[in-house]
Amino acid sequence: MSKLLNLATPIPVAENVEKLMDIVTDTFSSQFRFIQNNGADLMDFVTSTLTSIPPYVFMLIVAVLAFFATGKKFGLAIFSILGLLFILNQGLWDQLMNTFTLVMFSSLIAIIIGIPLGILMSKSKVVEEILKPILDFMQTMPGFVYLIPAVAFFGIGVVPGVFASVIFALPPTVRFTNLGIRQVPKHLIEAADSYGSTFTQKLLKVELPLSKATIMAGINQTVLLSLSMVVIASMIGAPGLGREVLSALQRAQIGNGFVAGISLVIFAIIVDRLTQSLNKDKSNGGK
């Protein structure tokens, strides 16, 4: 009975988490500041470079890329040009470039962290057992929650936005890399081993090439997830299309919200189809 009564007094989880956050923030404050400042500078630079490209040139580049990535078909190329024209026409080009930078940085960082983690996970049962629940946790946690540590560490702006997006978008790349490597047939691993391959040789010459399609599927998901964080990240001051959606929401401007939303969808479709067709292209070419 007394045990049951004990349950009624709340365990101080929230307090402890807060304390932990404070400790982390204090200890690494100078590092966080460094990342915040330099990260913001770097991303500003990339965005302004992108914006300085004339929109029509940019569209042409995307269209050519789409044309060749989809196996010399016109569909995606035409869609890209029309879609981007629409965004330009609605005066959202600069915001699009901001979003592009945000998605690019979060995806790249997520991939750079995710693939090695996935490799580690595929090589060690222990690492797999530890990472699996963490990844589940990361994926089921609503994206909003990551804004809290992001703000605590980096304040507001684009860098905490990237931080939150990376955490949110990381799991698929890790998972799919792990899955892809574990799916490599056992007899091929045996063949690689029997010829005396080192760990790295086996990884680079057999395991990664054979799991490329699976890893690319994970990367595609990571890119889309980081894109889905764009609106959420705008709540802590990340610029871009997300901010347009957010401000339309705050002012109940249905029309503006719709336009910004559609622009995001167009961008998402282009990015999704492009990364997917890159994957298909590779797996067919080098079967």
């Binding site: 007899h187 091929l188 045996e190 063949a191 010829y195 005396g196 391959s197 010459k205 054979l210 079967k287």
Partner: protein, 399 residues
Amino acid sequence: MGKIKIERVTKVFGKNTSQALKLVKQEKSKEQILKETNATVGVYEASLTIEEGEIFVIMGLSGSGKSTLIRLLNRLIQPTSGDIYIDNQNITNLNKKSLQIVRREKMSMVFQNFALFPQRTILQNAEYGLEIRGIPKEERRLKAEKALQNAGLLSYKDQYPDQLSGGMQQRVGLARALANDTEIILMDEAFSALDPLIRKEMQDELLELQANLQKTIVFITHDLNEALRIGDRIAIMKDGKIIQVGTGEEILTNPANEYVRSFLEDVDRSKVLTAENAMIRPMTIQIDHEGPKVALQRMKEDKVSVLLAVDKARKYLGYITANDALNLAKSGEKSLKSILRNDMPIVEPSTVIQEILSVISDSPTPVAVVEEGKLRGVLIRGVVLESLASEKNGGVDNE
């Protein structure tokens, strides 16, 4: 001084090894050990010496530990106890780095399911071992191309494995091992996935290769005929133990125990030499399309005086002779149908050789092997006799 020597090598799969070993000593069965300890005895106290330049065959029923044993030789599987020597070097406890060197320089492996890398071209597959060893690009390409040339596959070098037939893929598997130029080749049921005709060709190629290169080959097979045909010595395994080692002759005439005897008879009864084992690829003519000129040309090319006639679906129709075709060509007639002959004896692929012998010695023509109307192969007297002689099969049957 064997090329390969193993001493009292044991491999137990699972955690409870010591308990499992105790039970083996009490002569408990594999199932019982598995049930009591959750461990499987893969190989138990195996000792062997394999000499340089011999083809050493390992036989045994499924699950008897053949694959485990051959993988212990290059330590794809780590032994539970015992010692493994390659060229008198004990490799049982070599660290990763030294083991890699041994694998690179001493042995190459050929697998039952070919295990070619699907994303690499045939040439890149053949190069793999050399690439791993860090041989310069140009040199390894030349070596790999030479190995492919010997396998008759050079023209396929830029194809991918899934574009090749099974037999061709296994030739690539063999070429990959040969390009590596190691003295030992390990072959785990390397020919088992191939159909009988290709299989026989591959056996011939292996024997020829052995005559030229003098490799030390460890070869696993289920097939007694294959074992007798290519093996200098044969080891028979049962439940992880090696129960007899000897030449084919020795094992057939002097089985170590009742198990070996019944094993040989078992294998024998299902695997008695049949038409399928002795037939060769037939020289055919497609009678719907091809005329006397084509027929004569083909006979000249292949140095035969008879062609077997088939239709589009490879249905067997009869045969034509060179003389008839020549007369027909002179008369200017285009269709071969008028000279089709029908008196060639026909047998099923499953007909045993002894029965064929009487048929073939009475017939002036070869014998067609036909299954459900379709032509499968052809039997020629010389080849049948030779296969009988080399299989040493009669001795057992006549006991």
